[in-house]
């Protein structure tokens, strides 16, 4: 009899542990949205880098226009390498580059831009890395080509000459 009670007790403890693990699994802090090609850009509101004002995604991306959203950070070495390509792309009037500054400090990011130049039309300041998650980013750097508020193409890793060529071709 005593044994049965003990068994019941242990089982109920394990059931509680199970439930807690199960719930932990559900509200897992790792957040993986699936962004596929031709999907609408996620709607979000975020802080702008220079003015600190909060802006909605609809205000950033107009319909009928090309945008390149580039996720970058001052601590990211490949970003440095890709920066010249962005500066190059900036010269084209047809496309606007939107920067998403990822998990960075303002001071470092500013000196990064003053050193290498600022190709960005607007910069979203994403200190916590939450906006990047909404975009379904894997890491830095990463770029999304956007037209008509839809993601046409996603580039994981730094942009190189070839991908710039491709972007130029796509926006024609």
């Amino acid at each position: 009899m005593k044994n049965r009670l003990l068994l019941l007790f242990i089982i109920s403890i394990f059931i509680i542990i199970f439930i807690i693990f199960y719930k932990g699994l559900k509200n897992t802090n790792v957040y993986t949205p699936d962004i596929t090609i031709n999907k609408e850009v996620p709607s979000f509101s975020s802080e702008l880098f220079y003015s600190n004002e909060v802006i909605k995604s609809k205000e950033i991306f107009d319909l009928d226009k090309f945008y390149l959203l580039n996720i970058w950070s001052s601590w990211c070495v490949p970003c440095r390498q890709e920066h010249s390509s962005l500066m190059d792309l900036m010269k084209i009037k047809k496309i606007k580059i939107i920067g998403l500054n990822y998990k960075d400090t303002k001071k470092n990011a500013e000196s990064f831009l003053s050193e290498l130049g600022n190709p960005f039309h607007q910069i979203i300041f994403d200190k916590e890395g939450i906006n990047a998650i909404e975009w379904g980013a894997y890491g830095v750097p990463e770029s999304f080509l956007i037209y008509d508020r839809k993601i046409i193409k996603k580039y994981i890793g730094p942009l190189n000459k070839q991908s710039i060529k491709e972007i130029k071709f796509l926006i024609k």
Binding site: N3, R4, L6, L7, I10, I11, F14, F18, I20, F21, Y22, K23, G24, L25, K26, N27, T28, N29, V30, T32, S74, W75, V77, P78, N108, S111, F112, E115, G139, I156, G157, P158
Partner: protein, 626 residues
Amino acid sequence: MLFSVIGHYSLILGLFIGLILIFFSIKNFRNSINLDTKILSFTFLQFILVVVSFLCLILSFVFSDFSNETVFNNSHTTKPLFYKISGTWGNHEGSLLLWLLVLTLFIFLFLIKTKDQPTKYKILTLVFQQVIIIGFFVFLIKTSNPFNYLYPIPEEGLGLNPILQDPALAIHPPILYLGYVGSSIIFSSALAATSLNMISKKWASHIKKWVLISWVFLTLGILLGSIWAYYELGWGGFWFWDPVENVSLMPWLALTTLLHCVLVLEKKLVLTSWVIILSISTFTLSMCGTFLVRSGILNSVHTFANDPERGLFILIFLFSLIFISLFIFFFFHKPNQSNLNNFFWLSKETSIIINNWFMMYFLSVVLVGTVYPIFLDVLTSEKISVGPPFYHKLIIPFLIPFLLIMAIGPKLKWIKSNLEDKVYLISLLFISFLLSFLIVKNFNSNFLINTILISSALYLFFVTLRDFFIKKKNNISQNIAHFGFSLLILSILFNSLFSTEIITNLKVGETFETSTTKIIFKNINQKKETNYKSIVGNFSIQNSNGKIDNLSPELRIYNQPNIVTSEADIKTTLLSDKFLVINLVQNQDYFNVRYQVKPFMLWIWLSVLLISSGALISLFKKEYEK
């Protein structure tokens, strides 16, 4: 392409063989005197099928077959061959295939190596092991198939996480798994023995071999992981109380306790419940670890993919195993009460039991520290993390009695004894205390606890050291292991007490000077390898007595995927390690330089090797005596 198909179908066949095996086992269970040869050959076939499947995956990696999703996600053509191969188990799918490989290997070895045990017992062990194996087959095929097909075939893969591209880490998973997953056989056979009510001295000496094998591999696996963290993560520590480390430490503590219980059980028929519960918990803790790191509940290098479906599967599977084992334990296990009364307080088994309780205490501290943040997050959605201070506060004070009992326990006899040569033991205690007082004298912080802690570790050190010379008939393997343990604790203590660190920012050509050390940043070189570019900083370090060391830490910029890692340069000598690591300071010409002198680093690794060799000697001594 071809390999993926072969590998995939081998897995499905393996699953079917598992089902066939359970069917045969149940059929043969009642009327068998000898083990059916069919069972043996099917077990062998299942093992071979998993081997084939594993080889197929390795070959897909070697030939960079990017039509295979796993290969695409974790490999790249420019990677050296060695890392292509080790990439096979450097990801979720491949490492689960390795799980399966070890599971099938161990049951096959168990069946051919176990000779003098009843057939029923062997069959039942096989059934329990097959339940685990089938569970993992289904898990692998359904949620994490390593042979998923990709079309159109990508031209290039995404590459392996560069911090995993390291020789120590390439062999760390297989070694660790042999211990981690090897404990499954202990689990299965303990359940089988309990159901048949045949836990005896004979069974204890039979299971001891398997406990020792798992234990050695688990210890070495943890050691490799720790060495890797030391030189690769660049923080200069070797143990961070990271959840991933903790989940490997928990089965280790359970297994170590089990090992000691089995030793008692082998001599005297006591502690049967301990042995069963520990056999069950070692494996369930291993599974629990897999759940925690793979489900994405915890984040770490080992979280390869965050797929809640996978987590859910392991969770349900884990709890089914726990409930099955609880059921078997409560309904089949009949504890023999008679022996319990014979316990005398001053005896070997009493000292083992006391230290078992200490081990269980350490285990629960680690368990609470690891799981508590998850519980808190679920119940109150507050996020906290439990750091080293928690573990240190709760574990260190209890190490003192633990070490003392470890020193005195083996001197006692079984059942009832008097302490022999008291004079020696007491004088050694006195010497250790005096010595540790002299060592710690110059430190102000935590003076008392450090003195006592070091003296108890020194005490164990001296007692075990002396035993090497006096008693010929002494248990040499135990003595080596305990000696190694005292060395480990001493090295860790001295390491943490006497480590020094200098952190500064330097430009090329600059010099940094303190009263004892002069760091000169001479120049930087650039190197280009196939899978990364690197910046090597050349430093020369001069200490107070004029000795100059040249250290060249490295920053590696991997091309696929594009990640920077910093490789510390470490000069290892017998007495201390000199550790130098650099990092880029953003947008400036400065490098962040960290220089550490870490005494007795080498001895931490060596003492763990010594502890393992104690277990190895015990294992081979058994084989030899037969």
